[in-house]
């Protein structure tokens, strides 16, 4: 027995690596005209790993307090070597991650890849989308600048609008009645401890389910002979090209469009003119602007926020609402709903940017 063989045997006896290797070798990816969408799950995962890595690095210098947060980020981007790079990559990668997630989700939606037996893969995926948005929202406050301050004020006030649970939820999020240093400390805790812990579990389940059920093929291809590609190494190498391109894009974005720090938050200054949230909140922001003060007997924003809440619930329950993949009429209804939602989000986002 050669040395490598004996090492492998030793490891296999203890860790069962041979079965893991066999499993990896067995994994295949179907090839058809929609195969391109398979890459976006891996892209999302890669950008998530970038977030974890750069996030841990930023932790070495960041100070989570109203007195020190802004200054510590300023220190990172002006004094620490490559601090500007790491901080900008973290901000840009967060945005690309959300974008990749949306593409991943909508491709799964339109190809109805959530149909049985993959309902729970969809549910965990939507949960991960909500968690990533929570990551975005909590991370946005951490530099403690003017924009972040007002974004947090508005965002948490929105949660306070929800009937019954709203007010306690608002106090829980803010760590009091107002957005203060207590809010910053809390958001820091959510961002670096609570959300990562929850993500680890849900992401683990999500990836396990993907392995368990294998890749879904679109209904149009299902049952036909399709060519298959080995995951290791063929698909993985293609994934890798995407990831290298992503690193290049992140470095370029960070260098050409470094993420602004802005002005330090001041709890007694008016909201700056032209204030806008991150692009992935913009469609909701713009909708809230258009709602009248009163709709019937309810405040306009209450109606808007409840509608978005119901939209989120609908998204989570899609696989249980569209249970018959064979029913083409029902599938068409879901495709139309999805297309309308995408159109609404795109139009409102553009209007939000232009106005």
């Amino acid at each position: 027995m050669t040395r490598t063989e004996s090492v492998r045997l030793w490891l296999d006896e203890r860790l069962g690596i041979n079965s893991a290797i066999a499993l990896a070798q067995k994994k295949e990816v179907p090839e058809h005209r929609h195969s391109i969408w398979y890459y976006f799950g891996g892209m999302t995962l890669f950008l998530f790993i970038v977030q974890v890595t750069t996030g841990i690095m930023l932790l070495l210098y960041y100070r989570p307090s109203a007195e020190g947060a802004f200054e510590s980020v300023q220190f990172i981007i002006t004094e620490v070597e490559f601090g500007w790079l790491i901080r900008s990559v973290h901000s840009w990668s967060a945005n690309l991650l959300i974008a990749a997630l949306f593409i991943h989700m909508f491709s799964v939606f339109f190809l109805s890849a959530y149909r049985a037996p993959r309902e729970m893969t969809w549910v965990t995926g939507v949960a991960l989308l909500f968690i990533c948005i929570a990551f975005g929202f909590s991370g946005y406050l951490l530099p403690w600048n003017e924009l972040a301050f007002f974004a947090t004020k508005v965002g948490t006030e929105i949660s306070g609008v929800v009937p019954l649970v709203g007010r306690p939820m608002l106090r829980f999020l803010r760590g009091g009645d107002e957005v203060t240093g207590a809010t910053l400390t809390r958001f820091f805790g959510f961002h670096v401890a609570i959300l990562p812990a929850i993500t680890t579990v849900i992401l683990g389940v999500h990836l396990l389910l993907v392995q368990m059920h294998g890749m879904s093929v679109p209904p149009g291809v299902e049952g036909k002979e399709v060519k298959k590609m080995k995951f290791v190494p063929n698909f993985l190498l293609r994934d890798l090209i995407g990831w290298i391109l992503a690193i290049g894009a992140l470095a370029a974005l960070a260098a050409i469009f470094p993420w602004e720090l802005g002005h330090k938050a001041d709890a007694f200054a008016p909201a700056p003119a032209g204030i806008k949230p991150e692009w992935y909140f913009l469609f909701m922001f713009q909708t809230l602007k258009y709602l009248p003060a009163k709709i019937l007997f309810l405040d306009g924003e209450v109606v808007g926020i409840m509608a978005f809440g119901l939209g989120g619930l609908f998204l989570l329950l899609v696989p249980f609402l569209n249970k018959e993949p064979g029913n083409t009429r029902r599938k068409r209804v879901f495709t139309i709903i999805g297309a309308l939602v995408v159109a609404f989000m795109v139009i409102m986002t553009i209007v939000g940017y232009v106005t």
Binding site: F150, K153, V154, E157, I158, P168, R171, F172, R174, G175, G176, D177, E178, A182, A267, F268, A269, P270, A271, P272, A273, G274, I275, F285, L288, K289, L291, P292, A293, K294, D299, G300, E301
Partner: protein, 148 residues
Amino acid sequence: MEPNETRGPTRRGFLNYLLGTSAVATLGAIFYPIFRFMVPPAVVEAQQNSVSAGKVNDLAINSGKIFKFGSKPGILIRTQSGEVKAFSASCTHLDCIVQYDPGSKEIICACHGGKYDLTGKNVSGPPPRPLDEFTVNVKGDDITVTKA
């Protein structure tokens, strides 16, 4: 049906009941403090009914400024006619801080485009309610703002 199942309370059933209720009580004793810990305590603030908000001469005609009313922001406005007015500066829509726009002579909120006139009334955009108005007392040069 087994004769066992038709009989009244069993020893096993009783022990399971004890075990179950103890488990629930234990979980309650663990999670209740965790839950309560996460709810921020209400901070007792001295009820401030009036505050000194600055000097008339520091405030130009047709301009406004933010002042602190306890932990909340207020807005002080000196109108074209020289009158001094004070309102809560928290937009009634979603809590952003409003500002005075000398051009339109309105109070505006930059967040969602809400507008109020100089009586605090919400005149356009999403705000559902007028701004709370405070009573202004000018003694010499000093401005004192009092909650109505």
